[in-house]
């Protein structure tokens, strides 16, 4: 539990980025399994890197942004971009 990188909530938030990663993975596997082209290791290397490198970049950015956002999460704070004072005034009215 404690050794997990993110808590469950965050993992669910991040799933929006894991799904495109899943797609990239799917295509990597597809290209490996279904390769009706004459073999050429260099081309295959380029082909794979073109999918895998953006995937890794996305994974890294997701990790760091997830960290930054979760690290600064505070249940008390105002909604993103909203004025705290005004939101408080209105909260009672809006919730009913």
């Amino acid at each position: 539990m404690s050794d997990r990188i993110f808590d469950r909530e965050t993992m669910l938030d991040l799933s929006v980025n894991f799904i495109p990663l899943g797609i990239l993975l799917f295509f990597v596997l597809l290209f490996l399994v279904l390769a009706p082209f004459p073999g050429d290791p260099l081309i295959v290397l380029v082909q794979m890197s073109l999918v895998i490198i953006p995937g890794i970049a996305l994974l890294m950015l997701t990790y760091y942004s997830g960290n930054a956002i979760e690290g600064s999460r505070d249940d008390e704070q105002a909604e993103p971009g909203y004025s705290e004072a005004d939101a408080e005034v209105a909260r009672s009215a809006g919730e009913e």
Partner: protein, 252 residues
């Protein structure tokens, strides 16, 4: 108001697209594969587009000045559901496209051991010849320059301007190159497209099913004469093609 406007547009769109689909036999293997794929995608895309637009319009109409608004509640399950649904649709698009791409007429013929040397007249790299067992294959060189096309047959023995002739029902290899500036051959009705580069050949392959004439275009912007750079792509009966070719050869 939105509904009244968008729905007819969408319906007209669907009808128009269906009308564009050549309902009769396909003109070439490329066209057949691409049109089938395109139709399949349209069958998925048009309903999705209409449904999403309809939900949007419904939401706007239904909740316009709604007296009983509810505050937003996060619903991650819903989020993840539609993300995965989108992903599945796109996987299907990718899988279908990849299978079509894997056909060398749609993808590009790739050089390999079991091919013969391409029959080309210029000393340039990049051309790919027919397979050894494709004995009836035809090779045509297509040269682009500002602002015209020339087709060369029999390794340059025969040349025609602004027209490209191929026989039906035989594998055809088009070796495309440019002698001045960048151009692109596009035969929409046969599903053919390839850039013409200076200093290299690019080979595409096709097999036409039907005889007839089609418009071809230059679809790489190339300056003042770009809009005049089109011509006639003629698919002939194989016998007629051979006859034409020997006539031309005799004249040269």
């Amino acid at each position: 108001m939105n509904v009244r406007r968008i729905l007819p547009v969408a319906v007209v769109g669907v009808l128009a697209l269906v009308a564009v689909e050549p309902a009769a036999a396909q003109s070439s293997i490329n066209d057949e594969l691409i049109t089938d794929l395109n139709t399949t995608l349209l069958y998925a895309a048009i309903p999705i587009a209409i449904i999403v637009e309809a939900i949007l319009i419904y939401a706007v109409v239904k909740f316009k000045n709604n007296d009983d608004p509810k505050p937003t509640r996060e619903n991650r399950r819903l989020e993840i559901t539609w993300t995965i649904t989108t992903a599945v649709v796109l996987l299907f698009v990718g899988l279908a496209s990849y299978q079509v791409l894997a056909v060398e007429e749609v993808g590009t013929p790739i050089d390999s051991e079991d091919r013969i040397e391409p029959a080309v007249s210029e000393d340039l790299e990049g051309a790919v010849g027919p397979y050894e067992d494709e004995t009836n294959a035809v090779e045509v060189e297509v040269e682009a320059y500002t602002y015209a096309w020339e087709s060369h047959y029999d390794e340059g023995a025969v040349t025609a301007r602004n027209e490209i002739r191929i026989p039906a029902n035989r594998p055809v290899y088009l070796h495309i190159y440019s002698s001045f500036w960048l151009h692109m051959l596009h035969v929409p009705e046969l599903g053919l497209k390839q850039s013409a580069f200076v200093g290299e050949y690019n080979t595409i392959k096709t097999e036409a099913y039907e005889t007839g004439s089609y418009q071809f275009y230059c679809t790489q912007y190339c300056g003042a004469g770009h809009s005049q750079m089109n011509g006639e792509f003629i698919v002939m009966e194989p016998e007629a093609y051979d006859e034409w070719l020997s006539e031309q050869r005799a004249q040269e």
